[in-house]
Assembly symmetry: C2
Homo-oligomer: 412 residues x 2
């Protein structure tokens, strides 16, 4: 059987080299007599590359070659990835992708086409890089009702926060270092504003709860506003700040899905996830908390997840995987203002006594936090759980202080 | 299709109740029209139990009922579990087990029978309770060459060590508490002497490296000898003591497999695994380190792993899973004396100057460790890497001191 790769960038070239390096092992695991890479689709040319002779620029060659049974999509972006992938599925080819944007926005539709054509559409590499998570959720945890899923899904922001927490670097300096190390793009918005993590939690929520969650329905906050003062207060509270993407099933049939920085207690398994590593916590009714940890990005980890899906496609040529992922109705994602959680709040005041009195009258007996060398008039505290809507109302009533920072507190 | 359960103990009764509780979900995931629990085999009777009417004591009823396609074995022990399971497989029934002793000693043979009869023999629940690990290793990581696997595989010993580390309890007191909490048996040997962890690492090693590892070939040490002094020295070294089961592929085609207490650095993902939790680290060529964390035992987590396997059997009635697990030749497990590692060594001496001089002449410039309130004449140090054989020779040459404790130092 033949395989084609669309998009010869970092991940695509990793897939090509892994298919060659572990070729014998992969053929055996695939239960096939042979598996060969036949085409690599890319607009560019690659003089001197070991796979130069396989590179083509005409997509129709792949589409029209009936020997190509599995197509790997590692182009990224929605267009033309979507058009190519749907054409391949419609032509009866299985597709494996690492493209989280494609899966988060078009997953439901592409799975429907795969279903109609009795082929597979697999996307293990779209979340958590090389960490096995899609398959464990859909298979290993099949016996569980999953209530909640939460994770550190973006390595770039986790690297930046780790540098702020461990080395006292400012956000700007840590971002610069991440860019220097190749962890962040020149335009870092997709990472630091939370959009990448948002796409991934949409995919996980769809898998866990069975309905598509569209990224534009998800309240998404990044880490640009996090300061070293917040990091210090988190430490005095007994934890660290992480960018957490979470999805939770509600009693009313809706889901709560959100991406935002959050306080995590030091003894949590998510608190020790540092640098570019990712971790995903799954909370099931029978199993309790299970955590999956590993490198969430990078050429070879991601390529290894893609190749595992290729093997799975090859093994299941006549039998597709069942994901049970349907489209969702408008309003499926609950208004985040109804979420109930505790909050950390930092502010400054000219009149500490009046501000504290007001805070106590609004929030009750809150937990005040301290840090060394806090400037005159700065205060910080942690609230009991209340809704986001209620919080906003109460904050508006604090006339005696300026609120500088609000961060959610989790129980993971 | 019908399901039977053999052994109505903690896990077996969890499976029965989970099959009922999540029945609709499970049938859907199984791609079956119906799935029903028909028999529960147990010698005992269960008056008033909701499944009392399904309990039988005659195994042949299950064996001879062609409607029973999947048999769950949760009896424990090798006999008669082995005879019953092989009879079921030979009769063309798929078998799901949580019985690590059975899989560790007879896995290779039972997989061969399953292979011949084209049915499945699945055992996700035999390692790590509800943590998905067998399937991720055999499928998700199929594209990786796995070099090494290591984990905290026994919840009872991890609970005891956690109490020693966090609360300063002695081994004896922590064991007593574990027994009181139901984490340890009255005869705690299978746990505290490492035999339970040994069976589990044998199963993982077979899966990762393709050949059966028999428990009696594995050097196994428990935690009975660990003292609070060792715990304190580990802390001053910058880590904790955990019972680690590990398996590593060697260049000569053999494998190194061992169970023993070990020093783990504080920043390791294994260091923060506390109480009865388990964690398994898999080191692959493409993926790097991946860690799976969760409850390694308990009724419902283990039952959820069993039921996930039942679903997988139901989905693959005409197609068996491929494990690639063959028998091994004598000598496949390398002599542990050839292992090379660093060691922590604690001893007492009447002549500190002479002992230190001897240690330096034998081990070079070692890292001396200290603890508060150490008794007169006590010393401890960490060596550079050397073989176990070499270590034993050198220790025998230290005439100026009594060696009280030797613990391996890992790089996980």
């Amino acid at each position: 059987m033949y395989v084609a790769i669309m998009g010869y960038g970092v991940v695509g070239s990793g897939v090509a080299s892994l298919l060659e390096k572990n070729h014998e092992h992969i053929v055996k695991k695939s239960m096939q007599s042979e598996m060969e890479l036949k085409y690599i689709l890319d607009r560019r040319t690659f003089p001197g590359d070991p796979y130069e002779h396989l590179v083509i620029s005409d997509f129709s060659k792949i589409l029209e070659d009936d020997g190509v049974k599995i197509v790997v999509e590692t182009m990224g972006g929605v267009h033309p990835a979507y058009e190519y992938v749907s054409a391949c599925l419609n032509a009866g080819k299985s597709v494996v992708t690492s493209n989280k944007e494609l899966v988060a926005t078009k997953g439901c539709e592409l799975l429907r086409i795969a279903d109609e054509k009795n082929v597979n559409f697999l996307f293990e590499a779209s979340v958590g890089g090389g960490i096995p998570i899609i398959r464990p959720i859909s298979q290993c945890l099949a016996a569980n009702d999953i209530d909640e899923i939460a994770g550190i899904l973006n390595g770039t922001t986790n690297f930046i926060l780790t540098k702020m927490i461990s080395d006292g670097m400012t956000f700007e300096d840590a971002l610069f270092l991440a860019q220097k190390n190749g962890y962040a793009e020149r335009d870092p918005s997709a990472d630091v504003d939370g959009f990448d993590a948002c796409r991934k939690i949409c995919i996980l929520a769809a898998l866990c709860f069975g309905k598509h969650v569209y990224p534009d329905c998800v309240h998404t906050e990044g880490i640009r506003k996090i300061t070293l003062a917040d990091v210090e207060y988190a430490r005095s509270w007994g934890g660290v700040i992480k960018l957490i993407a979470s999805a939770k099933k509600l009693d009313n049939g809706k889901v709560s899905v959100m991406v935002s920085p959050a306080f995590i207690q030091n003894h949590s398994q998510l608190a020790t996830v540092d640098d570019v590593f990712n971790a995903i916590l799954v909370r099931g009714d029978a199993i309790g908390d299970v955590v999956f940890y590993g490198k969430g990005a990078g050429k070879m980890p991601t390529a290894s997840a893609v190749v595992a899906d290729v093997i799975d496609c090859a093994k299941h040529m006549e039998r597709k995987k069942f994901f049970g992922w349907q489209d969702s109705e408008p309003g499926y994602v609950a208004d985040y203002l109804d979420n109930i959680t505790s909050f950390y709040i930092r502010g400054t005041t000219q009149n500490a006594a009046a501000a504290i009195a007001r805070i106590n009258s609004l929030f009750g007996d809150v937990q005040m936090l301290t840090r060394a060398n806090a400037p005159e008039g700065e205060f910080a505290f942690a609230t009991d759980p209340l809704s986001e809507r209620e919080l906003d109302k109460k904050l508006a009533l604090i006339e005696e202080a300026e609120i500088a920072s609000v961060i959610r507190i989790t129980d993971y």
